[in-house]
Amino acid sequence: MSETLRNFANTYLMWNEGPLIWGSDVLILLTIIGIVGVLTYFKKWRWLWDEWLTTVDHKRIGIMYLIAALLMLFRGGVDAELLRTQLAIPGNHFLDAAHYDQIFTTHGTIMILFMAMPFIFALFNIVVPLQIGARDVAFPYLNAVSFWLFFFGALLFNISFVFGGSPDAGWVSYPPLSELGFDPGPGENYYLLGIQISGIGSIATGINFLATILKMRAPGMSLMRMPLFTWSVLGACIMIIFAFPALTVALALLLLDRVAGTHFFTMLHGGNPAMFVNLFWIWGHPEVYIVVLPAFGVFSEVVATFARKRIFGYASMVSSLILISVISYFVWVHHFFTMGAGPDVNTFFAIASMAVGIPTGVKVFNWLFTMWRGRIRLSLPMMWTLAFIPTFAIGGATGVMLAVAPADYQYHNSYFLIAHFHQTLIGGVVFGMLAGMYYWWPKMFGFKLDERLGRWAFWFFNIGFYICFMPQYALGLMGMQRRMYVYPADMGWNTLNLVSTIGAYLMGIGFLFIVAQVVYSIRHGERDLTGDPWDGRTLEWSLPSPAPHYNFAVIPVVTDRDMWWILKREGREEELMPRPEEVKDIHMPKNSGVPFLMGVCFFVGGFGVVFNWWWLAVAGLAGVLLSLLSRSFQYEEEYSLPAEKVIETEISLGRL
């Protein structure tokens, strides 16, 4: 009996691996006990279920995405600190090879798929319906399904750490390294299923917001009157719809190789690993633009608001967004110039890759000239936007350098590449998402985040960023490869690695300041009573903070691009206030527990596949089918909010 128990503990709970695992197990257990305890003590279970787990309200779903993204930023950040600690000195014994490999794999996967993606989805949800004058997204129920698929996909990926073992073939997970022959553990299955499940959710989100933006805009909001954030979401959604299926296929085929013994990606029996590499990057390159476009959208909103000026060259901004979305489908080979595709292919993809730099550069100049002749206020959203410009300029420049195919023969797989993509992903996506978070935080929660703590976070994070990643360009030119858990001491790499690690710690401190800032501001943050704390320009700022459940008591008629700003300048704000005679009954979607349960079933099924426990997989799948079926028999998905109720709410908000 104790033998079986020990066996189980060692195989699945990995207790033979020592204190790191034990500590995490204890921490996770304590966290769970803590959460359950608090919910029970304050009798909040009902509230949790009614208000959050079953919600179909885009604003609440957005907030849940945001919380998940911040948690994953923390997890991915801890991974990063562990990696950098290991690399601080040559020949370090802090982590062994196996752990280092797992950690860089989970770090990369989590940062891209479970941090950047939910972060952009958080802003999609919180902002888009409010910006276009809609009451919700096109398919609120599907929106909830998307969220729970993301959530349980991420959960499945994360439990690999304490149950069965983490994936260790890199976030790109190239076969044959990721095939059974070289990687028998369950970690790679976790990777495949975790991403697959959340990926289905992402495709649904893409479709949902495309439909929302195309069909749900308030009357008068033509495409060319749309705020640039909404434009960027439109671009990102189109890219999601075209790119994610490639990932779905790649993951599914690799999973078949692993669990069903097919040979899609082994050279034996006529398969080809290069097919995986192609499919992966056909998704992977657009993916980096999927996450950065919404950041561009945020910067456009923030720059105009905090420079108190119209965005410069709106038409150029829109066309560059579209150009970026289109061109970035024709550049994927730049991730493997050195795989022998031949000079003609490499030349094509090299020039296409450089070409993406053109519209991107144009955007930078347009942001700069939006500030020209403006009045710049240095609040937190604007600070992150200003910090983004030089960071992204360097990241973009080194991107163009990487696109020079023959030169990439020297940068590829080196720290030069690591420095480049962190510069764009952190300088672009993370800065952008933080700017957006600070900007729309009052809209979500009704209070501002504390400026003073935010400035500490800003400076720690930014200075740390340069100290961490600038040396890595040099390390790349010194010949240091990525994914090395130890490196020789006689190559002249030691000092720069140490410096880089110090930078990573500074960024970590920056993150802690953000946590402190959030905690402090919940109590002490400046309350937003006007609904328009930044003197905004777009529709969402005409609403109270937080916006009522139905968003707009009366759907506005849009007459201009920066309508709210113009109305304010002309003293016509009244036009966006509801008049009682115009308020009608509002149809709102009903809450539903099915999306949550469907996520649970996906989780259970995925878990079964990870360990090849087919009975469990079948049970999970059956649950998924049942949840789908139950939706078909749900005839009343909406309820009606009577006009009197709406008027009552509006009066209590002081708008009537």
Binding site: H269, R308, G313, V364, V404
Partner: protein, 312 residues
């Protein structure tokens, strides 16, 4: 572009290159020891200079604008909240990047095609067949009949054609001072031309992650004069032990090791490795073996196709 501008560019480029490479020999990529690495470095310098033409204005503009248009009381700078279009400005910043990409694209195309050819055509090239194993590098010299692990000797001034494959997960073969890397993939034979101009020991390492022992997949490329190279070959032939089929199976087992030298190896080993790892499913692979000129390399049943060297 006027001559003045050109020379200015050159000066800036040279200064940048000097600044970076001059400060330390540790910058392997910027201290190339052969024509391939040098070509690549020229492109690196050129592209650095060209992108700086955008980056520097961005920095200057940003600093200036934020300073001038800060929202502070009594700021005398103009405030035009509706000013948001300028045809001329937009043409400038659509145009300049297009020109830059044009120039860079032209040189990229030129070099990309040039680097598929051997660096120096007057000398008879040397072929070395490289196999990435878990976690070590095996070098075979089809012309000399010797083999090594985790180091290889090459003659100075002779173009070397590395034929790359893997009997393990995909790796990438990189010797920064000689030139850029190329993937080594199971079931395929890839080709990479490198050449050393001066004697020296050059650091090389696998660049694509292959699992636990990956960090230990370093090797040295030792460039010596032709005479020393010939001597080294004969010494290897007389003092090394033979790599047998069984010995190769031993090498294949996952593990890390130091260097080794073999006086001979099983004939056709490289080709068989490619073949059994899936090369036999690739019609292009049938022509392999032409480069080393060894009879009897083709395994039984293989169709012999005319053609030189590796596919792709």
């Amino acid at each position: 572009m006027s001559a003045g501008h050109k020379s200015l560019l050159l000066v800036v480029g040279a200064a940048a290159a000097l600044f970076l490479s001059g400060c330390s020999p540790n910058y392997l990529v910027l201290n190339p020891a052969g024509p391939v690495g040098r070509e690549e470095m020229h492109l690196i310098v050129l592209s650095t200079v060209l992108v700086l033409a955008v980056v520097i204005p961005v920095f200057v503009l940003l600093a200036f604008i934020v300073w001038r248009y800060r929202d502070r009381p009594g700021n005398p700078a103009a405030y035009r909240p509706e000013w948001s279009e300028s045809r001329i400005l937009e043409i400038v910043w659509w145009g300049i990047p297009i020109i830059i990409v044009g120039v860079l694209g032209f040189y990229t195309a030129k070099t990309t095609f040039a680097l598929t050819e051997p660096p120096e055509s007057s000398t008879q090239p040397l072929t070395i067949q490289v196999t990435s194993l878990n976690w070590k590098w095996l070098f075979q010299y089809p012309g000399q009949g010797v083999a090594t692990v985790n180091y290889c000797e090459i003659p100075v001034g002779v173009p070397v054609q590395f034929e790359l494959t893997a009997d393990s997960p995909m790796n990438s073969f990189w010797v920064p001072q000689l030139g850029g890397q190329e993937y080594a993939m199971p079931g395929m034979a890839m080709r990479l031309w490198l050449q050393a101009d001066k004697p020296g020991t050059y650091y090389g390492h696998g660049a694509n992650f292959t699992g636990e022992g990956f960090a230990h997949m370093g090797f040295n490329v030792v460039a010596v004069s032709q005479k020393d190279f010939d001597q080294w070959v004969s010494k290897a032939k007389s003092t090394g032990q033979a790599l047998t089929e069984a010995g190769y199976q031993q090498l294949k087992k996952p593990g890390v090791m130091g260097t080794a030298t073999y006086s001979s190896y099983p004939p056709g080993l490289f080709h068989d490795t490619v073949w059994t790892n899936g090369g036999r499913y690739d019609p292009k692979m049938a022509g392999m073996g032409g480069t080393d000129g060894r009879a009897g390399m083709m395994p039984k049943g293989a169709a012999s196709m005319p053609g030189t060297g590796a596919p792709k």
